[in-house]
């Protein structure tokens, strides 16, 4: 055995390209992240507040569409080829999907960035959620469509590998890493159907001027049909690292293969029929449907709790093999000087904290307290912003040497980087959650109001803002260190064997689990039925009330005439109030 690149040089090149693309997207997203934080906290304001929404859209789309998913395709290709011990079936097909994703991401990205150029009448200031009536230039939607089709083809590529492997190994259990990829991709296929309908049937024709208006609640609901499973699409590669790599780094073995399979099946089943929990505050969806979705959401905590147990037990196994003992002192036997281990362990710890705020978000009545406040970005900066992003960065310290055969440029800086991310996010998430509790809104360029002060029960608003700004600065610094380290590594002359590309066998292997767990058709069918149960009635009710294309309303951005009209109406109503 050797490094990944020794076995699969062609695949390593593809995976490297995917990782490097994701790092470029991360760099762009990070720049817009720090600009927006310093702007909204009024520390440094060098952009126009109207451009804040371009910045916010860029931060969201570059981070959670481009960075996460480019990393995912690299990671999943690694997992499938490593665990099936076979190269991809056809490299030109693999490069095709990668190219398609890249072209799509570039089109969407450039369309967003053109929002800064006033002389060009192209913009996409629609945020990551692209809620109608916010309207983007058609190129924004076209880029997204290309990107998503690219991911579909990538999934087809991995299924193709599995089918080819199965023909040669008809009686064997699906290797766990491939199993994780397949279940995640089935979830993704189900989820992206909704966004395909939303864009192709409604938003794209609308932005091309074919329709005058759309039903905003319908496209919103279709967005969240896709928008909740996408959070698990980000998370599953991180989970995969925690299950496959973290035990290895800790010096142990995965505690249970069957439990891991159960977790991924639960995500396949429960990720999609819960999207409406992002719409607890939306009028037009009956409380009863929201209640059903809340119940599903609470069940969705189960696979994450199972993961907490399995992953911590696997790490503990490593610690005890390294001589650790006692209830807590085994923690001291872990390899805390290894950035890949420490980064992922800290990411997992932050995810546990994200679980607390996630439970608050999930509760229908408690959600009302925090909805649309800064609390919610606080939550997802713990989950996607740390559990996912920090795991990806930490994992890169092992994966990039595997893919390049080059030595990591600096291990101490890597260690500093992961700790810095953890500290920065502690400040930032603390500030965001507490700001949300006192009602400070999210998605707002200037949350400072004349004649009104937010009152913090503990501390003050300026203290919260300072924490937010310090947090963002530390995170930006950490990001710079990461990118610098990756850049030097990519060009590192010193080639050193990065260790073997081996995933340790689990303590309790696949033979301990019932064969039905590998029945992909069964789980797909159940997942589809659950989606039909959760969505048929709400969608029917939304369409019967508002029509497929809505009942009117204007798109935004609007022309100057509309702005003047709006100002006139506002003035008249203000005069009426006085």
């Amino acid at each position: 055995m050797g490094a990944y690149i020794d076995h699969f040089p062609r695949e390593a090149k593809l995976i490297r390209s995917a990782f490097y693309t994701s790092f470029i997207m991360l760099a762009l997203g990070g720049i817009f992240g720090v600009i927006q934080t310093l702007h909204r906290t009024d520390v440094v304001r060098f952009i126009d507040s109207a451009d804040y929404y371009t910045v916010l859209t860029a931060h969201g789309v570059f981070m959670v569409i481009a960075f996460t998913i480019f990393f995912l395709v690299g990671m999943f290709t690694w997992a499938v080829t490593t665990s099936l011990e076979r190269p991809l079936e056809d490299m030109s097909f693999s490069w095709l999907w990668f190219l398609m994703m890249t072209v799509g991401a570039v089109i969407t990205g450039v369309t967003i960035l053109l929002g800064f150029v006033e002389s060009v009448d192209v913009s996409a200031d629609v945020l990551f959620t692209f809620y109608a009536p916010l309207q983007a230039h058609p190129l924004f939607y076209i880029g997204l469509v290309l990107f998503v089709i690219g991911t579909w083809l990538a999934g087809a590529d991995w299924f193709r590998s599995w089918w080819a492997w199965k023909r040669e190994n008809p009686d064997e259990r699906i290797p766990l890493p491939t199993f994780m990829v397949l279940t995640t991709m089935i979830m993704w296929y189900i989820a992206t159907l909704a966004i395909a309908v939303s864009i192709l049937a409604f938003l794209l024709p609308w932005s091309l001027g074919i329709f005058d208006h759309v039903n905003p609640l319908l496209t919103r609901t279709l967005f969240w049909f896709f928008g909740h499973p996408i959070v698990y699409f980000w998370l599953m590669p991180a989970y995969m690292m925690w299950y496959l790599l973290l035990p290895k780094f800790a010096g142990g073995r995965l505690f249970s293969d069957p439990l891991a399979r159960v977790v991924f099946i639960l995500f396949l089943l429960l990720s999609t029929p819960v999207g409406i929990h992002h719409q607890y505050m939306d009028p037009g969806i009956a409380e009863g449907f929201k209640f059903i979705v809340m119940t599903n959401t609470m069940f969705l905590l189960l696979p994450s709790f199972l993961t907490a147990f399995t992953v911590v037990a696997s790490i503990e196994h490593g610690a005890r093999q390294r001589g650790g003992d006692g209830y807590f002192s085994w923690l001291k036997s872990l390899p805390w000087r290894e950035p890949a281990f420490t980064g992922m362990a800290l990411a997992g710890l932050m995810f546990a904290a994200g679980g607390f705020s996630g439970m608050i978000n999930a509760g229908m009545n408690i959600n009302y307290l925090v909805h649309n406040t800064l609390w919610v970005p606080g939550h997802f900066h713990l989950t996607v912003g740390t559990a996912v992003a920090l795991s990806f960065m930490a994992g890169s310290y092992w994966l990039i040497p595997q893919m390049t055969g080059r030595r990591l440029a600096s291990k101490p800086i890597a260690l500093l980087q992961v700790v810095l991310w953890f500290v920065g996010m502690t400040f930032m998430a603390n500030s965001m959650h507490r700001s949300g509790l006192i009602g400070i809104p999210r998605r707002t360029a200037e949350p400072q109001y004349q004649g009104f002060e937010f009152e913090a029960a503990l501390g003050s608003v300026s203290e919260l803002n300072a924490q937010l700004a310090i947090g963002a600065t530390l995170l930006f610094l950490s990001l710079t260190l990461f990118l610098w380290n990756m850049l030097i590594t990519a060009f590192n002359k010193s080639a050193e064997s990065p260790g073997e590309n081996v995933i340790p066998t689990p303590l309790s292997g696949p033979d301990d689990s019932p064969a039905v767990l590998d029945n992909m058709k069964l789980w797909t069918a159940i997942a589809v039925v659950l989606v039909i149960l959760a969505y048929t009635l709400p969608l029917a009710s939304i369409v019967s009330r508002g029509g497929l294309l809505g009942r009117g309303g204007d798109a935004f951005p609007v022309s100057i005439d509309y702005l003047a009209l709006f100002a006139q109406v506002a003035l008249e109503s203000a005069a009426g109030l006085v």
Binding site: F309, E316, G323, F328, W330, F356, Y368, E500, L507
Partner: protein, 58 residues
């Protein structure tokens, strides 16, 4: 991190039956305690003194 280093650092080989994840139980127990006490705390902060927010009269 090469596996050769891992081999050197491994003091003993623990199989499925010898391994008792008691430390995991301890950590998850702490997580549960934090969760439960925050739940209680939330009741005092958000609900005591305020009326019900979803059902009933404002």
């Amino acid at each position: 991190m090469s596996s050769a280093i891992q081999e050197q650092e491994r003091e003993r080989e623990l199989g499925h039956d010898e391994f008792d994840p008691i430390g995991t139980l301890a950590l998850i127990g702490i997580y549960f305690l934090i969760l439960a006490s925050m739940w209680l705390f939330m009741y005092f902060v958000e609900f005591l003194g305020n009326g019900p927010t979803v059902v009933g009269m404002i």
